[in-house]
């Protein structure tokens, strides 16, 4: 098998994640889909690392994970505070772009 298949899988997962972001209204699920997209990217990076025979791709994936962790922390905090004031986690309810 050609390792390029990993890339195809990453593209597929990324697209599914993106579609999820666009379709779902629950902010938490939207976030999960974002995580899915990030993970798909990581898979691609790891595969690239293997293709090129150096570790830089893995380093990037590592940094992506750290950034994703930071993003999740802030994002979930936002979701919680929005939920507190609106009693809803729907992204559509916040269409006025303010709390």
């Amino acid at each position: 098998m050609n390792p390029v298949n990993y890339l195809y899988l990453a593209a597929l997962l990324f697209t599914i994640g993106a579609a999820g972001v666009l379709i779902r209204r629950n902010a938490i699920v939207v976030f999960m889909c974002v995580e899915l997209m990030l993970n798909a990217c990581n898979l691609a990076f790891v595969t690239f690392s293997r293709m090129h025979g150096n570790l830089d791709g893995q380093i990037i994936a590592f940094f992506t994970m750290v950034v994703a962790a930071a993003e999740v922390v802030v994002g979930l905090a936002i979701i919680v505070s929005v939920f507190r004031s609106r009693h809803s986690a729907s992204v559509d309810d916040a269409s006025l772009m303010k709390l």
Binding site: M1, N2, P3, V4, N5, Y6, L7, L9, A11, L12, L13, T15, I16, G17, A18, A19, L22, I23, R24, R25, N26, I28, V29, F31, M32, C33, L36, N39, N42, L43, V46, T47, S49, R50, M51, G53, L55, D56, Q58, I59, A61, F62, F63, M65, V66, V67, A68, A69, A70, E71, V72, V73, V74, L76, I78, V80, S81, R84, A89, D92
Partner: protein, 275 residues
């Protein structure tokens, strides 16, 4: 050397089998993340997909990342998700009905086009030579050592900045969820007075029907058999998540009686037949 290159450009049969099996599962997991009605199911599906990705990382020679994926991502981040899901309401199911006009079609169109483009891009790229990570991993005595030497030399600046980012994110999360106290904190004396002068002097009655249920969302029954809302905590009351079981025992009794009656009746019939 040529043998090594050839080995690198093709994966082993075992890996191929693993890829096709787990890859399908990963896609299914991703799809269910998007399509499940309940957020908790989505989270669980995503966790599964992530674990499979961790396996793929390992298969690609990224041992450190594979472990980190499981420990940090699946273990910590996804649990954080689940925690928030619980906080927001685990049972609240989303309606999947689209409210924005044309959003679903646009999303589908964009998604398909985007996927096609990505696939076309990957297909276009001439990715036929594979070097494999053997040399790179062996250079510093292993994958983790190799990563470490890169992080602390070439990428040390980015690493430091990432550290700053994490600290900022932590502080940001605290600031966002912090609620300023708008009134004076009650003293112990006021709290005790409030408690004594309130309507409910003794402790609130406990929830649950001891004979059959002890869950917190089941109201206790008053002597006349009607449920008492006081016994359920206020959060669940507000959410309307009270399970009324006041009639359940009666129904169960009725069903039991019916079953025993049926059984007895059959036995009677059998006896009659036997006679």
């Amino acid at each position: 050397m040529t043998a090594l290159a050839a080995a690198a450009s093709q994966t082993s049969t075992g890996e191929a089998v693993q890829f096709w099996l787990l890859g399908i599962v990963a896609v299914i997991g991703a799809l269910s993340t998007v399509l499940m009605k309940k957020a908790v199911h989505s989270a669980l599906s995503l966790a599964g997909t992530m674990i499979i990705l961790a396996v793929f990382y390992l298969a690609n020679g990224a041992y450190f990342l594979g472990i980190v994926q499981i420990v940090v991502y699946t273990g910590a981040i996804m649990m954080l998700f689940l925690f928030v899901v619980m906080l927001v309401g685990v049972t609240a199911a989303d309606s999947l009905k689209e409210t924005l006009k044309g959003q679903r079609w646009l999303a589908a169109g964009c998604g398909l086009g985007f996927g096609a483009l990505l696939v076309a891009g990957i297909g276009n790229a001439s990715l036929n030579t594979f070097n494999g990570l053997g040399t790179a991993n062996a250079e510093h005595g292993g994958n983790v050592e190799g990563l470490a030497s890169l992080i602390f030399t070439k990428y040390v600046f980015a690493f430091e900045i990432t550290g700053a980012l994490l600290i900022t994110a932590t502080v940001g999360a605290m600031v966002l969820t912090h609620r300023e106290r708008t009134e004076r904190a009650k003293s112990q004396r006021e709290m005790s007075e409030e408690r004594v002068r309130g309507k409910q002097l003794p402790p609130l009655p406990a929830p649950g029907v001891y004979a059959r249920h002890n869950a917190v969302d089941i109201p206790g029954l008053l002597p006349d058999g009607t449920p008492s809302e006081l016994t359920v905590m206020q959060t669940l009351r507000n959410r309307g998540q009270i399970r009324d079981v006041s009639n359940e025992s009666l129904e169960q009794l009725k069903a039991l009686e019916q079953r025993s009656e049926e059984r007895l009746g059959r036995d009677n019939e059998e006896e009659e037949v036997a006679k």
